[in-house]
Amino acid sequence: MPKLTVDGIEVEVPAGATVLQACEAAGKEIPRFCYHERLSIAGNCRMCLVEVKPGPPKPQASCALPAADNQEIRTDSEMVKKAREGVMEFLLINHPLDCPICDQGGECDLQDQSIAYGRGNSRFAENKRAVTEKYMGPIVKTVMTRCIQCTRCVRFAEEVAGVEEIGAIYRGENMQITSYLERAVTSELSGNVVDLCPVGALTSKPYAFEARPWELKKTPSIDVMDAVGTNVRLDSRGRQVLRALPRINDDVNEEWASDKTRHAVDGLVRRRLDKPYVRRDGRLMEATWGEAFQMIADVKAGASVAAIAGDLVDCETMFAARALVGGMGSDLLEGRQTGLDYDCTNLAAVNFNSTIAGIETADALLIVGSNVRWEAPLVNTRIRKAVKKGAKVFAIGPEVDLTYPVTWLGNDLSLLGNLPQEVKDTFAKAQRPALILGGGGLKAGAQGATLALVGPLGLIREGWNGYNVLHMAASRMGGLMLGYAQPGGIAAVAAKAPKLVFLLGADEVSDDRFAGSFKVYVGHHGDRGAAQADVILPAAAYTEKSGTYVNLEGRVQRGDRAVFPPGDAREDWAIFRALSDVLGHTLPFDTLDALRVAMAAAVPALGEQGLAAYDWAPPALDAAASGTIGYPIADFYLTNPIARASATMERCSAELIHGHSFAEAAE
């Protein structure tokens, strides 16, 4: 624990901390470009220079200097001021003065720091060097003349994303950052380099020239593109969400977000349902809310009613639907649209128990039927961290590139009953062994076999539960807590042939599943669910309602409303409240707050943000498993109706998954 003084303030920092961190601990702001908390230290921008005693009589780069006992740091001396001005002047020598047409303007580190630490003018009268644009794929727009070679993007690609495709070529003044041969970067996390770039060299291609940061309304929200529950900030102007950026939450997404999280938002203004529709003579026709409600009432379903929750819905929606269905006398609720029927009697047995942050500390991992990279990209980066710390990863399933070394055992579930000796040995030695069961494994029926491994592999120890199920739907854990799971799954619901079925944004239900039922689609996009509906009630997307979501580790999180739903669309819970009147089973809440109180009364864990506690009491299931695994996600970029409506995701899919090439028009 070195003790040192910064500008006369005494601070004590943990061993291994840098001088820069010590300065921050003392409350001093150190300007920096290349240094980033979550990346390795490069020390090449020289902006963080400070004066250090004892040491040579010259400024030192604080980001790369270990803090030591009895150091005296000055961040306010004449030497430091001059050093910063000098570095800033050099950085600006080749940086174009194009802030007025630069998308980074207003949120640019270089702008801010040149105002705070730079000289007022430049002495450089010569020509600036220019660098040609580099193609980096459908997400990242480049203006490389603006690049200051901090190499954050290079380090991010190598260290976090695990795709070594960005590098710095040539040298000295001619150094250029580029993707390999200017091909698209094949990472589902490539959008993060836009946030990392301290200047306007890498900007967001879909968001190019859309808005200035100061015009945007910023709303904290929770992402629904996967079950990770990425904390996002929705930037909106008027009625449109223009971009989604990650918020820092070290327990969930650190400060990253997947490309789908960031860029599917343009799908929120396309293919939207903004009016109620009813099916007359086989065709969907526009209708009023009253007509639509009356048609539903005319079904006279009695107690023969079911609700199927989609992947993106919030807990409030599911609770309102549950209250209505329950009021009508039915308990047919299901959220696993594609037909999964794993046992949900114990929520801990279907939870990501080691937590997202905790999986980083695992030292032996067995992945059963999960393409983690696509099912939960931000869990994958955590596993990658664990691997870097020395964890060994084994996997059962078709081989895919997970960005870290994996020992593929084969694609046969019977391996679970007969694990190779190497796996047993590794797990026997491990302190924090973990197993991850993904959607492919659940579908293939590996739940019993993996639960049977909990004992032999020693997954549960003091303060550690290494049994993890990796869900892919944002609504899944919330749905399971609200009882959206029938023994036998959706097939059992269909077998009861309910007269009336509510599809809560459920777009993955095959259309012959409820062939004889009257289907009411309550959702926001004209996708597969709406196409098969008899009545469509336009509802709000995740950006348009305040909602509670439970992520795959059972973390209850709440997001706020950024914009209003388009046209006649209403928030989902309000639709059910209004419909309940018409059906004669009036729901006992008139406001969202009242609904939340009722929900907290029914499921107390949903009333409190943070990790929900589940008691570990796994069901006794048949441990036999055999057969092959297929991954459920065929196309990472097109997994839900919002993404399918997004032009950006369409382009990503075509280019990165299907290999179409998009020649850039010469500018």
Binding site: E164, G167, I169, Y170, Y180
Partner: protein
């Protein structure tokens, strides 16, 4: 880099070099080079391997050799290195040619010491022989590049032609070297005047007494 040579189109180099593989001799040498580094550190072999590959390309095309992208990828694959990392190395060091060069790659040093000692004459000798900066002569014999200091300032001006330095040049000696190369001869490398490496011209100029015996200068210091 206005005078940089144009790197051939990717499709073209892929068609020509896509099936690059080590020759039998180089296969063994590559293995030996990789063997120099401890297990897990094979990436360190990238520089000698790229050099070896460039020489093999040179041998196959009867030039000094260059590194087409497929060849860089071949080398990177052999040591399990991401392509971009190998590409970074190949673009960083100037001794790797990223574009085809001629039989002789004439690198004329134009940095201050050489310039003061007459590198302009050396360059004009090259121009006179039909060489043009950044270009290969039509007969495929010479490629001219002006480079920065090559570290032989004591023998300025100098040129580096493939693996040899030719030093202490004048207009005439440069012409002579180029003509000899054109004839297929190998001119004597090193200083082109009567001088051994960087020793003083015409014998020692200082500490002359030391030539014959271990002279004690201390008494002469004022």
């Amino acid at each position: 880099m206005a005078d940089a040579a144009h790197i051939p189109d990717e499709a073209e180099t892929r068609a020509r070099w896509g099936d690059f593989a080590w020759s039998e001799v180089n296969e063994a040498r590559a293995k030996e080079i990789i063997g120099r580094y401890p297990p897990g550190r094979q990436h360190s072999a990238i520089m000698p391997l790229l050099d070896l590959a460039q020489r093999q390309v040179g041998a196959e095309t009867n030039t000094q050799g260059w590194l087409p992208v497929p060849v860089i990828e071949f080398v990177a694959k052999q040591i399990d290195m991401p392509y971009i990392r190998a590409f970074e190395v190949a673009t960083f060091y100037t001794m790797y040619n990223l574009a085809p060069v001629g039989r002789y790659h004439v690198q004329v040093c134009g940095t201050t010491p050489c310039m003061l000692r007459g590198s302009d004459d050396v360059l004009s000798a090259c121009y006179k022989k039909g060489l043009k900066k950044g270009h290969t002569t039509p007969d495929g014999l010479f490629t001219l590049t002006e480079v920065e200091c090559l570290g032989a300032c004591a023998n300025a001006p100098m040129v580096q032609i493939n693996d040899d330095n030719y030093e202490d040049l004048t207009f005439e000696t440069t012409t002579a070297v180029l003509e000899a190369l054109a004839r297929g001869e190998t001119p004597k490398a090193g200083p082109q005047i009567d001088r051994q490496t960087s020793c003083p011209e015409g014998g020692p100029s200082t500490l002359k007494e030391m030539v014959a015996e271990n002279h004690d200068y201390r008494g002469e210091w004022a």
